[in-house]
């Protein structure tokens, strides 16, 4: 089982968006477990401190920081598939015909794409 964890807070307006993206991508696979960890809890605060997290949302894949901000769906898929291959030796991707994010091959991190020069 590949573990994807969203580190979030209750006051962060981007965190629900990130959660939705992660859960939507996770539904495309049969062996991905999504966990949401609020940093206002002692366990969450400890985890953030241990990993050096200073921004939310932060996405962890298999316990390691994958991205900060709302994740790029394609990049997250790749990270999950790489983790599945590492843990089980073969790709267990189950295509979902109701695939909800069409990113046209472009980076689509919402938080990053909101900032321009």
């Amino acid at each position: 089982m590949v573990k994807v964890e969203i580190l979030k807070t209750h006051t962060c307006p981007w965190c629900p968006v990130a959660s939705e993206v992660v859960k939507s991508i996770a539904r495309e696979y049969e062996n991905v477990d999504v966990i949401e960890t609020f940093l206002e809890t002692p366990e969450g605060a400890e985890k953030a401190k241990k990993l050096g997290v200073t921004s939310v949302p932060t996405i962890l894949v298999e316990g390691k920081i994958f991205s900060v901000g709302v994740p790029d769906p394609d990049e997250l898929r790749k990270a999950i598939e790489d983790a599945v291959v590492r843990s089980e030796g073969k790709n267990k991707k189950v295509p979902n015909s109701f695939h909800s994010f069409n990113v046209h091959g472009k980076r689509s991190c919402v938080r990053c794409s909101l900032f321009v020069s």
């Binding site: 807070t9 307006p13 981007w14 200073t54 921004s55 939310v56 949302p57 994010f101 938080r111 900032f115």
Partner: protein, 312 residues
């Protein structure tokens, strides 16, 4: 396929107020946006929304959302990927499907402007932040800098101070743009202010450690130790899709509208920061109401007709 009377793009105060007014007029209405509340949701405290003494941006978002849903407005949280605005029926393409509507109200607001300095991208999420509500608590007890002179910058500085950060405000001029009420609170706090100063470079190894500040009047540069930088230097309007679909913008890249908030495309309106209005929640909300009301008149074919109250 369902054809809505009005599709509103953007879930901020302009969009949600437009949704409220359109649905109260009996129009079949949908609001489509990525982040409920938009920039309003980032405000940790709002004290200048009439009728509400003090509220967080998140709470005000929830109230506005429930209010427009109460009158039948549909809300879809999704990213708009394309717009086809010419013709009687407009098409709005999103990550989760397509929506057809006779009228479209563009209320997409803006995005945070970047400093465009070395280190800004490298340390995003590692000390560089555009969201104090999100990341402020990580810097409790630490030195932080807030860049900007607007209400957003001043209230961000005050918020970070209130949660225990050691705050310095950096502003490129010798006076602030913020409301006098906010400036008074700032001057009464012990927040240090660096006037006539801009950020030259953000330094660090794995995370932000210091920032080089330049005085624009003397040319002197100095390095300051800091753990976090919160950038609040204004917004850039989100107009790319609208422009691609034929909507005209002005020389500042805001959408061109007339007094009815009509754009150059028939049946398409714009409201909120995207029109270049004063960037306050109440102003955006007011424009949302104006755009929705005029969309209603357009759909009912009453423009130019004489009524007892004058010609619409």
């Amino acid at each position: 396929m369902v054809v809505y009377d009005v599709a509103i793009i953007g879930l901020g105060p302009a969009g949600m107020t437009a949704g409220l007014f359109a649905s109260r007029r009996g129009l079949k209405t949908v609001i489509i946006g990525e982040v409920p509340g938009g920039q309003m949701a980032l405000a940790h405290v709002v004290e200048n929304y009439p009728g509400v003494e003090r509220i967080s941006g998140k709470e005000l978002t929830e109230i506005m959302k429930k209010q427009c849903e109460k009158f039948g407005c549909e809300i879809v949280v999704s990213r708009v990927t394309d717009l086809e605005l010419k013709g009687e029926v407009k098409k709005v393409k999103t990550d989760t499907g397509e929506f057809l509507a006779k009228c479209v109200i563009l209320a997409t607001g803006g995005r945070h402007r970047k400093l465009n300095v070395e280190g800004e991208d490298k340390f995003l999420g590692k000390g560089v932040s555009y969201c104090a509500s999100c990341d402020g608590p990580f810097f409790k007890g630490k030195k932080v800098m807030v860049i900007g002179g607007s209400d957003s910058a001043v209230t961000t500085a005050l918020y970070l101070k209130s949660i225990g950060c050691d705050v310095t405000l950096v502003h490129r001029r010798d006076s602030l743009r913020a409301e006098e009420a906010n400036q008074k609170k700032l001057f009464e706090s012990d927040i240090n202010i660096l006037w006539d100063s801009v950020v030259e470079r953000i330094n660090g190894d794995e995370k932000v450690e210091s920032v080089v500040i330049k005085n624009v009047k003397t040319g002197e540069t100095r390095e300051f130790e800091t753990a976090g930088i919160f950038i609040e230097i204004g917004m850039v309007p989100t107009v790319e899709l609208a422009k691609k679909s034929g909507v005209e913008t002005d020389e500042r890249n805001f959408i061109k509208v007339n007094r009815k908030l009509e754009t150059n495309v028939k049946g398409v309106y714009a409201a909120g920061e995207i029109t270049g209005c004063i960037p306050q929640i109440v102003v955006a909300a007011g424009e949302g109401a104006v755009a929705a009301t005029n969309a209603y008149f357009y759909l009912k074919g009453v423009y130019g007709k004489k009524t007892d109250w004058g010609t619409i």
